[in-house]
Symmetry: C2
Subunit: 337 residues, 2 copies
DNA sequence: GACCCTAGCTAAACCGGTTTATCTCCGGCT
DNA sequence: AGCCGGAGATAAACCGGTTTAGCTAGGGTC
C-alpha cells in the first residue's frame, strides 16, 4: 500500500526507469506507444512524483520562497502581507515556503541555502532597500526572483510594482486643492526603497509652485507600528505651527494618529485631515480616507510573474494599477479655508 | 566555489562518507578523535547539510506544514491566522510550508503527499471539524500533528486549545449581569468544532436559571466575512423582539455589526451591546468589547507542541490561558435596566 | 592458543527521481 | 554488400545524504 514509485511503474509497464522518466515528462526518446502505456500504468497506480527526489536531481522543487525580516510580533498586525500572501497563493498551485527571520544576514543565508538545495524554484523579494544587496545576489546565484513593490527596474530581475511616486503626488495635490498649506508626512522605515520614492514625491509636490503655490511639508519617520504612529503624531501636533493634514505610510499608524488627535482635542477632519496609505478593513471601518489598492490582486500578479520567470521567461517589469484615493470622513477642507 | 557536500568533507578529513554522517549527527560508531576532526573540517569548509537530500533518505525535512481551506480572498482579512502564523514562526527555526486550497479533499491529498515525500516533519491542524477525518488520517499515516484550537482530546493527537466553553459562559454571564435578557449570537461556520462548543456553552448559559433567571437566546450563522456579519445583524435587528446584545464569533463580523446598527439607527451600546470574539487592532480602534487572547503566543505554543511531537515526545493537550473579556465602549447596561 | 566480542571504520546499498553513455536494431544510401 | 544514421530502449551514474553489512584490529576470557 506504499505510494508507487517510478520503479514500480517501470516494472508494471515492462520498461526501464529511464524510459518511464522520459515518458512522464513528455520528452523524446520513447515511442508514442510506450509513452501511452507508461502513462496508463502510472495513472492506474495513482502515481504522483516525489518532489523531494526530483528536487535532489536538480529539477523543480514545486515551491517558491518568501522571507520576511521583521520582529515577528509586529508582523501579525500588518494585514498587507497576509493579503499579499493570500493573493500569491491564489495564483500558484505550488506551496509557499515562508520564514520569518530577524536579520538581513539570516535572510541572505536562507536564500543561498534554499537555492543550493533546490528547495525552492524562485523567491519573492519584498521590502526592497535602497541599493539592495539582494538584487545582486539573485543574479549571481541565478535564483529566479521577482521584486515585489520596488518601483523601477532592478538589475536583471523582474518586478511588480505600483507607482508610489504618482500616488503620493495625487494625495498631496488633493490636499492642496482642499486648501491645506501645512502638510506633514509620517513615513515608514527610511531604509526602504518605496519610502524614499514617496519622500521624493512628497518633497517635490510640496515645493511645487503650480496654481496653488508651494506649501510647508515636514516628514517624520516611524516603523509602521501603532506606537510609532502615535508618537509621531503627538510630536507633530504639539508644534507651534502644527500641520492641517497628515499623510501616513500605513493604516495602523494612521488609525493611531486619529486616536492621538482626538485625545489632544484636535478635531478630525475639521482641524486635521488624515490620509492613510493602503486601505484595509481598519480604514474602512474607521472611515479613513485612504490610498486603496487591491493587495490581493497585487499578490496574484506577483505570483504569476514569478512563475513566468521560473518557467524561463525573460524578466519583465509589471506596473500595477495606480492606487486610488478613496475619500472617506477623515479628510476635508483646511481650517479657515 | 560550490557548496561543500559530505563527500568533500570525507575527502578532506580522510575518512569515508558514512563516518562523516555518523560524526556530524552525534551518533556512535566513530571515535571522539575522528569526530572532532570531522567537525573541524566541516566548519572550516562552511558545511551546511542539504535538507533535500536528507529528506529523501527519510530523515528530517526541516519544515512543518500548514494547509488552510478557504476561499483565498476571504483569508486576507482574517488577522487571526496571520497572528497565529507569526507566533508559530517565532518559536520555530524551520520553515513553514504554507498552502491555501479550495477543498477538504485537496487538503487531505496534500498531507498524504507531503508526508510520503518527507517534505514536512509534521503539520498543524486548524479549523477542526466535528468528528474530523483528519484526526484518523494523521494516526494512520503516522504523521506528527498538533490540533490547534480544537478543545478537548483528539485520538492520539496532541492539541493546543483555549477553553471556548468557559469563555462563552463568561461573556453571557457578563451580559446577564448587565441586565440583558435577549441575547443573540452570530456564530461562525457551524461545521467547525469550536463553533459547536460555543453553541453548547451559549445554549447552556442562556437557559441557566441561576440568580438572574433564564434569558432568550438566538443563534444565527455566518462565515466570518463582513458581509455575512452585516446580513445576520440586519436580520436580528429587524425582528420584533430584537436582541439587546449580540456576541459575534470574530472581529470582522462584529465591526460590520456596529456599522449595520448605526445605519439602522440603533444606538451602541445604549440600545445594543456588542461583544467580539478575538481581539485585534480592529476591535481596539473600534472600541469594541472583545474576548482577548494572545494569538501570537498561542501560535508559539502550538509550534513548541509540534516540535515536541516531532521530536518523539508523547502527545499532550495544552490548554491555553482563558481568553479575557476586555470591556470597551460597545457594551453596557440593557436598555431600561 | 583458540575464541569471541566490540569499537571504529569502510564499502555499498538505498531513497526516487533525472541524465548520460551505450547498445541494438532497422532502414536508406551508395 | 558495406556503411551510416537515427530511433528506441536500457543500464548505470548521479544528486547528497542515511543506513546496513562487513571487515579489521585489539583486548579479554577460558
Amino acid at each position: 500500500m506504499k505510494r508507487p514509485t517510478i520503479k514500480d511503474i517501470a516494472a508494471a509497464a515492462g520498461v526501464s526507469k529511464g524510459a518511464v522518466s522520459l515518458a512522464l515528462n513528455g520528452r523524446s526518446g520513447v515511442s508514442e506507444q510506450t509513452r501511452a502505456r507508461v502513462l496508463a500504468v502510472a495513472s492506474s497506480l495513482g502515481y504522483r512524483p516525489s518532489v523531494t527526489a526530483r528536487a535532489l536531481s536538480s529539477a523543480s522543487a514545486d515551491a517558491v520562497g518568501l522571507v520576511l525580516v521583521r520582529p515577528p510580533r509586529a508582523l501579525g498586525d500588518e494585514a498587507f502581507f497576509f493579503q499579499l500572501i493570500a493573493g500569491m497563493q491564489s495564483a500558484m498551485s505550488s506551496a509557499l515556503l515562508l520564514q520569518v527571520v530577524e536579520s538581513r544576514e539570516a535572510e541572505i543565508e536562507l536564500y543561498r541555502r534554499w537555492w543550493a538545495e533546490h528547495r525552492v524554484d524562485g523567491v519573492f523579494l519584498v521590502d526592497l532597500l535602497v541599493s539592495d544587496p539582494r538584487v545582486e545576489l539573485m543574479s549571481s546565484l541565478g535564483l529566479p526572483a521577482v521584486v515585489v513593490g520596488g518601483a523601477g527596474h532592478h538589475g536583471e530581475l523582474a518586478s511588480v510594482w505600483a507607482d508610489d511616486y504618482a500616488a503620493m503626488t495625487s494625495v498631496v495635490e488633493y490636499l492642496k486643492s482642499l486648501g491645506h498649506r501645512r502638510i506633514a508626512r509620517i513615513a515608514g522605515l527610511g531604509s526602504l526603497l518605496h519610502t524614499v520614492r514617496r519622500d521624493e514625491a512628497f518633497a517635490s509636490s510640496v515645493v511645487d509652485g503650480g496654481a496653488s503655490g508651494g506649501v510647508d511639508g515636514v516628514v517624520v519617520y516611524g516603523d509602521y507600528s501603532a506606537e510609532s504612529g502615535a508618537a509621531a503624531t503627538r510630536e507633530l501636533l504639539s508644534r507651534g505651527d502644527r500641520p492641517t493634514a497628515i499623510v501616513y505610510d500605513n493604516d495602523v499608524m494612521a488609525v493611531a494618529g486619529v486616536e492621538v488627535a482626538s485625545s489632544l482635542g484636535v478635531a478630525v477632519p475639521a482641524e486635521l485631515s488624515i490620509v492613510a496609505w493602503d486601505d484595509s478593513v481598519l480604514c474602512q471601518h474607521g472611515r479613513l480616507t485612504a490610498l486603496s489598492r487591491d493587495t490581493f490582486a497585487f499578490g496574484a500578479r506577483a505570483a504569476r510573474a514569478l512563475l513566468a520567470v521560473v518557467g524561463g521567461a525573460l524578466p519583465t517589469d509589471v506596473e500595477d494599477v495606480l492606487p486610488e484615493l478613496v475619500v472617506r470622513g477623515s479628510s476635508g477642507g483646511a481650517p479657515g479655508a
